[in-house]
């Protein structure tokens, strides 16, 4: 949508495109401490754990340039060391499909060894999620063609809408562009003809068909967080990772052009007034009044700089369950979800470098 049309729509019906208020965490998103109290499967000091995938009944996690296998007893084996950051994983017929920055799509054998599968320039940078369609064609999202896969923050402050939705032909390796001009697509899942895509900067999840990928309907809009990767459940629902929660101060500075430009120019990126996966340097990070430690306690409902959240959507798109780690906790920045067993959930909390596991609740 062009700027003009956007402004017009916003003038006629304010709040349709950009809602100035952040909805509260309520109903299905009612806060709890389930992430905080979840069993820790593994932890990494490196704070670069990212995606997780289940292949052949085993769990594989991407961490920087490495793909690790994680076992129940907190042991981790590196199964592949790649030449660039692994930015997304998917299971593909007994192998693992990995998006490697600067390389493209790489097929990794769980028992060791890997080969480059597709190195089209389009898929070499900025892949944020991969899903395999029924015909084994990888469907992928590119967060931004300019900022790179680690450029979520830079993309947010520059109002970047250069994200792509791509499909790779499994036989020819030819890359087909399904849609362009997306606001940081950060997750995708395909079931049959239908797919679900999360648009991080737009705080929404949309649903479409591979035949007509540009004609999508909104499944959830104006979410209180920035949605990330999506994992489909067998019964038609989905689990959605939410790496970041929205913050009012961030929304304010995003609309204050001059100050925003000054921030980008003069402040190191990790200290920007933007959501993060977790605490990196408490001595220099911005603070909001509500985050003040009073009598030794940070209140759980403090405005979040980082937060841990994943939620389950049912087939109708209602949020029916969520797991949280609130600002007083540290299992923050959920980037990956895997479902290794019936109603068992494994989540990667990038902010704390933890992989936790918990049971789904069913009413």
């Amino acid at each position: 949508m062009s700027r003009l049309v956007r402004s017009l729509v916003e003038f006629i019906r304010p709040g349709t495109l950009h809602s100035p208020s952040i909805p509260p965490l309520e109903a299905g998103l009612r806060p709890n401490t389930r992430l905080e109290t979840a069993a820790v499967l593994a932890r990494s000091e490196r704070h670069c754990l990212d995606d997780i995938v289940l292949a052949e009944g085993r769990l594989f996690v991407s961490a920087g340039t490495t793909v690790l296998e994680v076992q129940d007893d907190d042991t981790q084996y590196a199964i592949a060391e790649l030449s660039g950051d692994v930015t997304a994983l998917a299971a593909a017929n007994g192998r693992i499909m990995a998006a490697v920055d600067g390389v493209g799509l790489v097929a990794i054998n769980p028992s060791g060894g890997f080969e480059t599968w597709c190195s089209d320039p389009l898929v070499r940078r900025g892949v944020t999620a991969i899903a395999l369609a029924t015909d084994d064609a990888p469907v992928l999202t590119i967060g931004s063609t300019s900022a790179g896969a680690d450029g979520w923050t830079r993309s947010l402050v520059s109002d970047d809408r250069s994200g792509l939705l791509l499909r790779v032909d499994p036989s020819t390796g030819k890359v087909e562009t399904l849609d362009t001009g997306l606001a940081w697509p950060s997750g995708v899942t395909v079931a049959g003809e239908e797919f679900l895509i999360s648009l991080s900067h737009d705080h929404r999840i949309e649903r479409g068909t591979l035949a007509q990928p540009r004609r999508r309907s909104v499944l959830r809009a104006n979410l209180p967080g920035y949605p990330g990767r999506i994992v489909a459940l067998d019964d038609g629902g989905w689990w959605v990772a939410v790496p970041y929660l929205r913050n009012r101060a961030t929304e304010l500075i995003l609309t204050e052009t001059e100050a925003l430009a000054d921030m980008v120019r003069s402040v190191p990126e990790e200290l920007w007034l933007t959501p993060t996966h977790g605490v990196t340097n408490v001595y220099r990070e911005p603070l909001q009044v509500g985050q003040l430690r009073v009598m030794g306690i940070v209140k759980p409902w403090a405005p979040p700089r980082s937060y841990g959240l994943a939620f389950r959507l049912d087939a109708d798109g209602l949020i029916v369950e969520s797991v949280h780690s609130r600002p007083d906790g540290d299992v923050h920045g959920v980037t990956g979800i895997a479902l290794p067993g019936r109603s068992t959930l494994v989540l990667v909390a990038r902010g704390s470098g933890k992989i936790v596991t918990l049971e789904e609740h069913h009413d």
């Binding site: 913050n247 009012r248 101060a249 304010l252 500075i253 204050e256 001059e258 100050a259 000054d262 921030m263 003069s266 402040v267 190191p268 200290l271 920007w272 007034l273 340097n281 408490v282 001595y283 220099r284 990070e285 911005p286 603070l287 909001q288 009044v289 509500g290 985050q291 003040l292 430690r293 009073v294 009598m295 030794g296 940070v298 403090a302 405005p303």
Partner: protein, 731 residues
């Protein structure tokens, strides 16, 4: 020695202006937004706009109909002014009390006809007539008052019905006595009332003016007047505050009846005749007059003096209309139209005046902070360590928010609490703590007076002295008001830290002249130099402002030389030295500049240096917000306080610095578990006592040997000889 030098400090002359420290141009001193807000917040603004408009309208009439300024017309206007004026004063009293009296016109008619009947038909002496008529008026008012205040009927309908009933009675009396009313009779008092003059003024005007003055004073300066305002503003609150609401309401109607009856007599004396219609339509004229004068129809707001102005306006308009030959119906129509439009104006003005004032109240100042040091840099003197983590906790879980503390000669610890208390913990057994004193405010800085009393700066109160028996007495709560400020800055709202000079004078800081410690976050968003430093002279109790326009004046300590005090500016990240004696007296000199945090309290160290704590550390984002005024303004308007961006209050440290402004060492609690925010520290007997405004303990940290000197940091420099009866000896 030092004492004799500082004894001459009595006259400081003009306070030192610290605005220059902000580095902003002179123009930035002025805040048009805030000026408008301050003006709108004034109590007198309530009626100012309606009255101003009314006066403009009457001037318009007067200028377009110049004839009415000639002496004959002027006289008529003045008489009208006086007669209608009584009714307006009556209505003002009733309206301010939350009621309305529509029977004023009928009471005028009733008193007018009855005084004429008594005068002509019965030949009573005039003084008796006057007394009887006033009693009658009071009785009619009492009927209204009884029905409304006691029986609790609605004022509007009640007075409307009594007005109609009285009018009927007037008609009956008029008809029955008509033949007798033409009887001629002359009486000097009667003639004087009707047509006499006092000092060149018509008698009615001469009576009216003192009535206005008395009523105005009565309504604004006397208990019954305040009660009336209270009842009119909020009847329920008034009753809960012990105001006898029934009696007050009753009294307003009685007063109204009395004033109307006086008007009735004067009218009868002037006209010499009467009709059943006397006083008819006076209600609408009087009502218009008071509303033009800014008296609110909803009760609780209005003044008699302004109502008098409104009456004058109405009198002029009426006379101008007569002069122009307009029909009297037109006159009524125009008055009614004015009444309507001014009551709308009153409603909207009353609603939006304070709202606009609130919106314009906070006007952030753009600042350009210097480059920010990285305290996490390994090679920095500031680098984070875990020294304070080992501090032994005192009063853990019992203390809530001790901003500062003090240790007496025997090692007993005194500290504040956000609930207004001062705790005392025994030197021998620190688990034994008790509430030593209750201040009633928010206790901040502590210091010992020369005679051993504890001095505490209490946010919301001022400077308090606490004697060894735990009695807290406020000794400095206000100062002279600044002449050139619209805002009344005489109250000391945010007394923050203090120290005692060699001559016994107490120097203390006031972080903001505009807000108190409970709303400190507003100051954190505004960053305007609202703070001050005061000097309290115990010999005569005077509170003198010695530094003005200081940005968040916080820590104060007397320097080791006894000739200067150090002042920390939390908002400008700096410490300055103010010379209090010697050749440079009254000069401000920088000591520390561009600190990486917001300095809080400063205290002397035993080795001749100083300890200073930080209420929080600067962050690149908090500096960014300082540079962008508009961003901060929008933040205060669009975000809830919990979402405001502030410096990093969850981390801070204690540093030691020299007189030359060199940082020697820094002490942190890197775990953030025990002392995340340190707002003050006091050295005593080789230990540092660490207090935190948001903490639940006092930490007692054993200082390493090389940090300990031979001086007693609690002793006031220049008074070392007086050790015998110095600090804490009685506690």
């Amino acid at each position: 020695m030092a004492q004799s030098k500082t004894a001459g400090l009595g006259k400081w002359g003009r306070p030192v202006d610290a605005f220059g420290l902000t580095g902003r141009p002179t123009l930035a001193r002025f805040s048009p937004m805030r000026t408008v807000s301050d003006v709108l917040s004034k109590q007198w603004m309530e009626g100012a706009v309606p009255v101003f408009l009314a006066v403009v309208i009457s001037l318009g009439f007067a200028l377009s109909t110049p004839e009415i300024l000639q002496s004959g017309d002027r006289d008529l206007i003045l008489r009208n002014f006086a007669e209608l004026g009584f009714l307006a004063v009556a209505l003002t009293i009733v309206l301010v009390g939350g009621g309305i009296d529509l029977s004023v016109g009928s009471i005028v008619g009733m008193s007018s006809i009855s005084s004429l009947v008594m005068f002509r038909a019965y030949d009573w002496p005039v003084p008796v007539i006057l007394v009887v008529v006033v009693i009658l008026g009071a009785a009619f008012g009492a009927i209204n008052g009884f029905l409304i205040a006691v029986v609790k009927t609605r004022p509007f309908i009640t007075t409307l019905v009594t007005a109609v009933a009285l009018r009927a009675v007037v008609t009956v009396v008029q008809t029955h006595n008509a033949p007798d009313l033409v009887m001629p009779r002359t009486d000097s008092i009667w003639t004087f009332l009707g047509n006499g003059t006092v000092a060149g003024m018509h008698t009615s005007v001469a009576i009216f003016i003192p009535v206005v003055i008395i009523a105005h004073i009565g309504m604004s300066r006397v208990r019954w007047g305040w009660w009336t305002v209270a009842v009119g503003s909020d009847r329920r609150s008034a009753r809960r505050n012990g105001v006898p609401t029934t009696r007050v309401t009753f009294a307003t109607y009685v007063a109204s009846g009395v004033l109307c009856s006086i008007a009735g007599v004067l009218l009868a004396a002037r006209q010499g005749s009467t009709s059943a219609l006397t006083g008819d339509g006076f209600e609408i004229a009087a009502l218009t007059a008071v509303v033009l004068g800014g008296v609110s129809l909803t009760g609780g707001r209005g003044s008699v003096a302004r109502a008098a102005v409104g009456v004058m306006v109405v009198a002029i308009i009426q006379q101008a209309l007569i002069r122009r030959g307009a029909e009297s119906a037109w006159s009524t129509f125009i008055l009614a139209a004015a009444l309507l439009s001014f009551s709308v104006l009153d409603l909207k003005w009353g609603k939006y005046r304070t709202r606009i004032a609130d919106k314009l109240e906070v006007d952030p100042l753009r600042l350009e902070p210097g480059p920010l040091l990285d305290v996490t840099d390994e090679n920095s003197i500031w680098r984070v360590n875990n020294h304070l983590t080992t501090a032994e906790p005192i009063g853990l879980g019992r203390i809530e928010g001790a901003e500062d503390c003090a240790v007496d000669h025997d090692g007993n610890l005194y500290c504040g609490d956000r609930r207004g208390w001062i705790w005392r913990f025994d030197a021998g057994d620190t688990t034994r703590g008790q509430i030593f004193a209750r201040t009633g405010g928010s206790p901040l800085g502590h210091a010992w007076d020369l005679n051993g009393d504890l001095l505490v700066c209490v946010g919301g109160i001022g400077l308090c002295r606490i004697t060894p028996d735990g009695t807290s007495t406020p000794i400095a709560v206000q100062t002279r008001r600044s002449r050139n400020k619209i805002f009344d800055d005489s109250a000391i709202r945010f007394a923050d830290d203090l120290d005692v000079g060699p001559d016994g004078a107490i120097y203390f800081s006031d972080a903001s002249s505009r807000i108190d410690s409970a709303s400190y976050h507003v100051e954190m968003a505004e960053f305007r130099p609202n703070g001050r430093v005061f000097r309290y002279d115990p010999s005569n109790g005077s509170v003198e402002q010695i530094v003005k326009n200081h940005l968040m004046a916080n820590g104060i300590t007397t320097a080791h030389d006894g000739q200067s005090i150090l002042i920390a500016s939390s908002g400008l990240f700096r410490v300055d030295r103010l010379w209090i004696s010697g050749p440079k007296q009254g000069q401000l000199e920088p000591v520390l500049e561009n600190l990486p945090g917001l300095p809080d309290n400063i205290n002397r160290a035993s080795d001749g240096n100083y300890w200073m704590s930080f209420v929080g550390m600067r962050t690149p984002i908090s500096d960014l917000f300082l540079r962008h005024r508009n961003l901060r303004l929008r933040m205060t308007k669009e975000l809830p306080v919990d979402d405001w961006i502030v410096p990093q209050w969850n981390v801070s440290c204690v540093v030691k610095f020299t007189d030359d402004g060199m940082i020697l060492s820094s002490y942190w609690d890197g775990t953030l578990e025990r002392h995340p925010m340190v707002t003050s520290m006091k050295e005593f007997d080789g230990h540092l006592y660490i207090a935190g405004l948001q903490n639940n303990r006092i930490g007692r940290y054993k200082l390493p040997e090389h940090e300990i000197g031979t001086l007693d940091p609690m002793l006031t420099p220049g008074r070392l000889a007086d050790r015998g009866h110095a600090v804490g000896s009685q506690a």
